[in-house]
């Protein structure tokens, strides 16, 4: 159970001012997502090693890099900004993440799964099978944190900011949750880097 804050707007839009125009899903980006997914399906159906490796490495590299950058660079910077500055940043940043991150995640996981089947690293007979299972556990934990905690907070902030008088305390609390969970997924990505570099060199 969670109490809803009744604190004042905390320095955001003054009463009577028009609410912020916040686009939750940047519709113009949807064709790019569709193109990426179409390329991914083509890679899976053709089962070509290069195409699978391309989608896995590019998707995984971006996913890991963005998570680390947001978790350890953007998050702490955002946490020290005044609420209006956080809001100004978030209304431009978060909608892009709504499209970008799920696309990178599904691209990395689908291509990675097929790649592992292609090369036999998913099989229990593979000498480093334990590392593969460890990578699945890391991804599972990241999925629960990102989808279960980070993304709901992200969306709730965007919807709150569309109100005529957003609740500043609520936005601040949800943004803190976003910043902390971004840090957790960043730390989990360090584990991913350890596992993947280990697998690539043994």
């Amino acid at each position: 159970m969670t109490e809803i804050s009744t604190a004042p707007t905390g320095g955001m839009a003054p009463a009577g001012q028009a609410p912020l125009k916040v686009q939750i899903v940047p519709v113009r980006g949807l064709p790019l997502v569709a193109a990426a997914l179409a390329g991914l399906i083509a890679a899976v159906v053709s089962n070509r090693l290069w195409a699978l490796d391309f989608f896995h490495v590019v998707g995984g590299g971006l996913w890991t890099g963005i998570d680390l950058f947001v978790g350890f660079i953007v998050g702490p910077v955002l946490g020290r900004l005044p609420v209006p500055a956080r809001v100004a940043f978030s209304v431009r940043f978060m909608p892009k993440m709504v499209l970008l991150m799920p696309t990178l995640v599904i691209t990395t996981l689908v291509a990675g799964w097929q790649l592992a089947r292609h090369e036999g690293t998913i099989l229990i007979s593979y000498s480093h099978h334990g590392w593969i299972v460890a990578s699945m556990i890391v991804v599972g934990v990241m999925a629960v944190v990102a989808i279960g905690i980070l993304e709901p907070a992200n969306l709730a902030v965007l919807f709150e900011l569309r109100k005529q008088a957003p609740d500043g305390a609520l936005v601040g609390r949800l943004m803190r949750r976003f910043i902390y969970t971004a840090g957790i997924t960043g730390a989990m990505q360090v584990a991913t880097l350890v596992i993947m570099t280990r697998l690539a060199t043994t």
Partner: protein, 150 residues
């Protein structure tokens, strides 16, 4: 946004806000737990390849996840008042996205030759997963919105 008041007209209604101090049932917690159970089940199955994994633990996890999802949905459906418009808007978009994601995963399983009870189990798991997230996102946003908000 500002409207000119006519003499004698009632003052404009204040902007809609969520009810202060209102508590909600643990819908988000149930949905996240359900999602986590599905992920554990998936890892369990994948960790046994190429041998067929014992389906009992995965079936149990799926049943528990489905039960938690149904409980979360039932608790949500009883919420009055609630920002249903916002809930369905968010849940609808999320459902569209996760149907695509679940569809791609299903495609992978079929292409990889998964058949029989394993395919049924994975399909049911993906269905629960694809319903969990829209419920979670819709609830998480709508709980902070006033009933009737668009």
């Amino acid at each position: 946004m500002s409207a000119r008041l006519r003499p004698g007209a009632p003052p404009p209604a204040p902007p809609a806000r969520a009810v202060p101090g209102r508590s909600f049932p643990p819908v988000a917690e149930l949905a996240v737990t359900s999602m986590a159970l599905i992920i554990v089940s998936g890892i369990w199955l994948a960790a046994h390849l190429p041998r067929p994994a014992p389906l009992g633990p995965s079936a149990g996890l799926l049943a528990a996840a489905a039960a938690l999802l149904l409980l979360a949905a039932a608790l949500t459906s009883r919420l009055r008042p609630f920002a249903w418009n916002v809930f369905f808007t968010v849940a609808g978009w999320a459902l569209a996205a996760y149907v695509v994601i679940a569809g791609m995963l299903e495609l992978i399983f079929v292409l990889d030759g998964t058949r029989g009870a394993m395919l049924v189990l994975l399909t049911c798991s993906l269905t629960v997963f694809a319903l969990d997230i829209p419920l979670l996102l819709g609830f998480s946003v709508a709980r902070y919105q006033a009933a009737g908000a668009q």
